[in-house]
C-alpha cells in the first residue's frame, strides 16, 4: 500500500514529493535454523511470520535564487523506514524464540543487557533478569534490546550553484542509525592475549575503583571469568550495538566553462576545467574505520580527488 502526494509551488520552483508506504509479507522462504542435534543447521522452509515494513519518503526540490547569471538550487531527500514483527504463531516454541520479539523490528535480537565494567572486579557485568545472581543465564537473562538496531532515517542534501561559467555542486549524506560496535564486534581475541587489538582497549580497568569502558586485560586462565565475560559482551550482549550515525560530505565538484568566443578561436567547440572530491569529510562519534559499513578489515571508502580538462572538438 502506498500513498503519495506531489506538490508544486511558485511556478514549480518548489517541488515537494511525499510518499508513505506499508507492506506486509508473510510465509517468507527462509533457511530456518534447526537445532544442531538434528544433524544439520538449517532447512528451506516457510516462516509463519507476518512482517511489516512502513516508511515515509520525502523529497524537496527548490530553486532558491534565480537572478540573471546566478542560480542556486537544492535537492533534499529523507527516508524514514520502520520494520516490525506483527505476528508469529508459535514463536515461543520456534527456533526464533530467543531471538525475536513480537512488536519489535527483527533486527532487535534478544541480548544480555550490558552494564559495563564492574568497578570492583574489573569484569563486564550484565543485567540479572531472572534473579539467579548472574546476568548471563541463557535464555533466562535475554531481553529485547532497547536500542533500535538499524537505520532510523537517512537522506541527502544536494546543492547546485552556478554563476556565469562557474558551477559548484556539493552533496551531504546523513544517516541516523544503530550499528555494530567496533570493539565488541572485533571478535578477534581476548584483550590480554598475544593478538592484535583495537587501540581503544588500552582504556581498561586496572585497579579497584577504576571507571573504565573496557575490562581488565587477561590471558583467560584460571576462573577469573574474564574470558567468558568477553565472549558474552562480544557475542550475546547489547554491547555489540552502538550509535553509528554520521554526516558525510560525499561529493564536491567545481567546474568552469571557458568562454566560447575564446575557445572557438582555437577551433574548439567547448572547453571546461573541473575538480571533484569524494568522501571529503565525515562527522561521527563512531569508533572504527567507517560508520557506513561498520565492517572491520576492509578498506573504507577512499577520499579521492579528480581534476581535468574537458574539450569538445
Amino acid at each position: 500500500m502506498e500513498v503519495a502526494i506531489n506538490l508544486g509551488f511558485v511556478k514549480d520552483r518548489i517541488l515537494l514529493e511525499t510518499s508513505w508506504y506499508q507492506n506486509r509479507s508473510d510465509n517468507q522462504l527462509v533457511g530456518l535454523p534447526v537445532p544442531p542435534s538434528v544433524g544439520f543447521s538449517s532447512v528451506q522452509a516457510n516462516l509463519p511470520a507476518v512482517l511489516q515494513n512502513t516508511g515515509i519518503e520525502i523529497s524537496l526540490n527548490t530553486v532558491n535564487v534565480k537572478s540573471g547569471a546566478f542560480t542556486w538550487s537544492s535537492y533534499f531527500n529523507i527516508s524514514v523506514p520502520r520494520n516490525k514483527l506483527i505476528s508469529y504463531p508459535g514463536l515461543k516454541n520456534s527456533p526464533y524464540a530467543n531471538t525475536y520479539t513480537i512488536g519489535k523490528p527483527i533486527s532487535n535480537q534478544k541480548s544480555f543487557h550490558f552494564l559495563g565494567v564492574d568497578p570492583k572486579t574489573g569484569i563486564y557485568k550484565f543485567q540479572d533478569l531472572d534473579g539467579s545472581g548472574t546476568g548471563t543465564d541463557y535464555p533466562g537473562d535475554l531481553q529485547a534490546s532497547a536500542k533500535e538496531i538499524g537505520q532510523n532515517y537517512y537522506g541527502g542534501l544536494d546543492n547546485k550553484l552556478s554563476f556565469k561559467g562557474f558551477q559548484l555542486d556539493f552533496l551531504f549524506q546523513f544517516v541516523k542509525q544503530t550499528g555494530q560496535d567496533y570493539v565488541f564486534n572485533n571478535a578477534g581475541s581476548l584483550p590480554g592475549t598475544m593478538y592484535n587489538q583495537p587501540v581503544e582497549v588500552l582504556n581498561r580497568w586496572q585497579k579497584s575503583g577504576d571507571k573504565a569502558p573496557y575490562q581488565l586485560f587477561s590471558t583467560g586462565g584460571g576462573n577469573s571469568g574474564a574470558f567468558l565475560a568477553w565472549i558474552y559482551a562480544s557475542y550475546f550482549g547489547d554491547s555489540r550495538f552502538t550509535d553509528a550515525s554520521f554526516i558525510r560530505l560525499k561529493n564536491v565538484s567545481v567546474s568552469y566553462q571557458l568562454s566560447s568566443k575564446w575557445v572557438k578561436s582555437l577551433k574548439i567547440d567547448q572547453a571546461s576545467i573541473f575538480i571533484q572530491g569524494q568522501n571529503l569529510l565525515t562527522i561521527t562519534s563512531f569508533i572504527g574505520p567507517d560508520p557506513e559499513s561498520q565492517v572491520i578489515g576492509v578498506l573504507p571508502p577512499l577520499r579521492t580527488f579528480v581534476a581535468g580538462i574537458r574539450l569538445t572538438l
Binding site: 535454523p33 534447526v34 537445532p35 544442531p36 542435534s37 538434528v38 544433524g39 544439520f40 532447512v43 515461543k92 516454541n93 520456534s94 527456533p95 524464540a97 530467543n98 531471538t99 541463557y138 535464555p139 581476548l190 592475549t193 598475544m194 590471558t219 583467560g220 586462565g221 584460571g222 576462573n223 574470558f227 567468558l228 565472549i231 558474552y232 557475542y235 550475546f236
Partner: protein, 456 residues
C-alpha cells in the same frame, strides 16, 4: 480475425493440455547422488556407511579421532592443558560454558551428525527394493551400532538428551530431552539388533578390524550393562568376547595399538594423509607441548615395576622442563599406516568381567581376570581379596590400563559416583555440577523445549 482467434484458442488449449508435468518436473541431478539412488546397490550402501567412519576420523579434533579422549582427559585427571585454547582450558577448569565451541562442535553436533547419518541409512535401507534381505539386516545392524555408540557417549556426557530414531527433522527439531534410562533402553535394544545382524568376522571390511562386527556389539553391550549395574549380563557379554579366542587375545604391550592387532575389537581407520592416528600425531611430544601433556596423576598411579609406565608413557625434556605424554601410539607422522585408532579392545572386557564378578561376590574369578591384565604389565597378582579392596583395585587398574583412551577415566569416576571424592582432592576448581556437561546454547537457541543441566 476469426482465423487468428481460432489459432490463439488452439495454442491455449494445447498448452493447457500438455503443460505441467513435463515442464515442472526436474530430473535428479546427474552429478550428485540422491537418497533414492544411494540405496540401490550394495556398493553405494556400503559407501554410505563407511562414509560415517571417514567423517569421524577426518579432522584433528574430531569426535572419533581424538575429541572424546582429549576433552574428557582434561575434564578428569589425565591431561594438563598446554594450549592457549580457552575452550580446552574450560574442560580442565571444570567450568565449561554453554558457548564452548569445542563442546558444541565435537561433543554435541558431531555425534548427532553420525546419528542422523545412521538414521538415514536405516530409512534408506528399509525402503530399498533392490537390496537383498540379508544385506539389509547387516547394514541396519551396523547403523544401529553406530547410533548406540553415539548415544552412549551423549547420555554419559549430558545426562538426558534429545533422542531421534528417524530423520524426520520437523519432529526432531521440537523434541524434548529423553531421560537417560529411556536412552539406555534404546542403546540396549539397538545393540541386541546389532549382535543379531552383524557378521562374526571382519569380512565386511576385507579382514581389517575397521568396521564393527558382532563382537564389537557384544563388547559395547557388556560396557553398557556394567554402567547400568546389570552385573550378570555384563559378565555374560564380556565372557562371550573373551571366549572368542580364535579372534581375540591379549598381545604384548608394544603391539596392542598396531593395525588389526589381536586385541582390537573395533578400530577406526586413519584418513588424514601422512599421519597415522590423530592420538599419536597430537600426544607425542618432540617439542614443548602446545596442546596437552600427561598429568602427573596418571604417572604417579603406576605401581613400581609396571611395564606400562615404560611402554606407554613417554617423556620429553627441553633441558629445563620435562613433560610426560601418552605413548601408546608410537607413530607421530608417517605415510605408511601401521597403527589404527583403537576404540574397543579386549583388555576392557577382562576389566569389565573382573568388576562384574567382584560385584557378584565371585572373588577368585574377579582376581584371575584382573591378574590377566596385571601379569601382562609384568606385575604380580593382586593382593585385593574382598569386595571393597577389589573394586578399588579394578578402578586403579582401569586408570593405568585405559588412560587417555576414549574418556574411560572420566566415565568411570562418574558412573561409580567417585568423581567428587577423587577430583575435589586433585582439582582446586572442581565443582559437583561439572559431572554433567552443559547443553550448548546453540541447541537451546533453536529448540526452546531443551532445558539446561543444573549449575549452568
Amino acid at each position: 480475425m476469426t482465423k487468428d482467434k481460432a489459432v490463439l484458442l488452439l495454442i491455449t488449449i494445447s498448452s493447457l493440455t500438455f503443460s505441467c508435468t513435463k515442464f515442472v518436473q526436474v530430473d535428479s541431478p546427474k552429478n550428485q547422488l540422491t537418497v533414492d539412488n544411494v540405496f540401490l546397490t550394495e556398493a553405494s550402501t556400503n559407501s554410505a556407511v563407511t562414509g560415517i567412519y571417514t567423517t569421524m576420523m577426518n579432522g584433528t579434533l574430531g569426535f572419533g579421532a581424538i575429541a572424546v579422549s582429549e576433552m574428557l582427559g582434561l575434564s578428569s585427571d589425565e591431561f594438563i592443558n598446554e594450549s592457549s585454547d580457552q575452550f580446552l582450558a574450560e574442560f580442565a577448569n571444570s567450568k565449561i560454558s554453554v558457548t564452548n565451541a569445542d563442546l558444541l562442535e565435537h561433543l554435541w553436533s558431531e555425534p548427532y551428525l553420525y546419528i542422523f547419518s545412521a538414521n538415514s541409512v536405516l530409512d534408506g535401507v528399509r525402503s530399498s527394493k533392490s537390496l537383498t534381505d540379508s544385506f539389509k539386516i547387516q547394514m541396519e545392524a551396523e547403523a544401529k551400532f553406530i547410533r548406540a555408540f553415539c548415544y552412549f557417549y551423549l547420555t554419559n556426557l549430558y545426562g538426558d538428551v534429545p533422542m531421534y530414531l528417524t530423520t524426520d527433522y520437523q519432529t526432531n527439531a521440537v523434541s524434548t530431552r529423553a531421560s537417560s534410562s529411556i536412552v539406555y533402553a534404546q542403546i540396549i535394544a539397538d545393540l541386541k539388533d546389532a549382535q543379531t545382524g552383524l557378521l562374526n568376522d571382519y569380512s565386511a571390511s576385507g579382514g581389517q578390524r575397521v568396521r564393527p562386527n558382532r563382537s564389537a556389539a557384544t563388547a559395547l553391550l557388556a560396557r553398557v550393562y556394567l554402567y547400568q549395574q546389570k552385573w550378570d549380563s555384563a559378565e555374560a557379554e564380556a565372557t562371550s568376547v573373551i571366549n572368542n579366542n580364535s579372534l581375540y587375545n591379549l598381545t604384548s604391550l608394544d603391539s596392542v595399538f598396531l593395525a588389526n592387532s589381536n586385541e582390537a575389537i573395533w578400530q577406526l581407520l586413519p584418513v588424514i594423509p601422512n599421519i597415522n592416528t590423530v592420538e599419536g600425531y597430537t600426544f607425542i611430544l618432540t617439542a614443548e607441548p602446545t596442546t596437552v601433556s600427561l598429568d602427573s596423576f596418571v604417572v604417579k598411579a603406576f605401581e613400581p615395576g609396571d611395564a606400562r609406565l615404560t611402554n606407554w608413557v613417554g617423556t620429553f625434556s627441553d633441558g629445563t622442563n620435562t613433560w610426560n605424554f601418552p605413548y601408546k601410539y608410537k607413530v607421530q607422522a608417517s605415510a605408511t599406516l601401521t597403527e589404527y585408532s583403537m576404540v574397543i579392545r579386549l583388555a576392557e572386557m577382562y576389566l569389565i568381567r573382573a568388576e562384574a564378578r567382584a560385584q557378584q561376590m565371585e572373588f577368585s574369578g574377579s582376581e584371575s581376570d584382573l591378574n590377566m591384565i596385571r601379569n601382562r604389565a609384568s606385575l604380580s597378582n593382586t593382593t585385593a581379596s574382598d569386595q571393597p579392596s577389589l573394586l578399588l583395585a579394578i578402578e586403579h587398574e582401569r586408570q593405568v590400563e585405559l588412560f587417555t583412551e576414549w574418556g574411560h577415566r572420566w566415565l568411570d569416576l562418574k558412573r561409580t559416583g567417585r568423581a567428587d571424592a577423587v577430583l575435589s582432592a586433585e582439582k582446586p576448581t572442581w565443582i559437583s555440577n561439572a559431572i554433567l556437561f552443559p547443553i550448548p546454547s546453540a541447541e537451546i537457541q533453536s529448540n526452546p523445549k531443551i532445558t539446561q543441566n543444573p549449575g549452568y
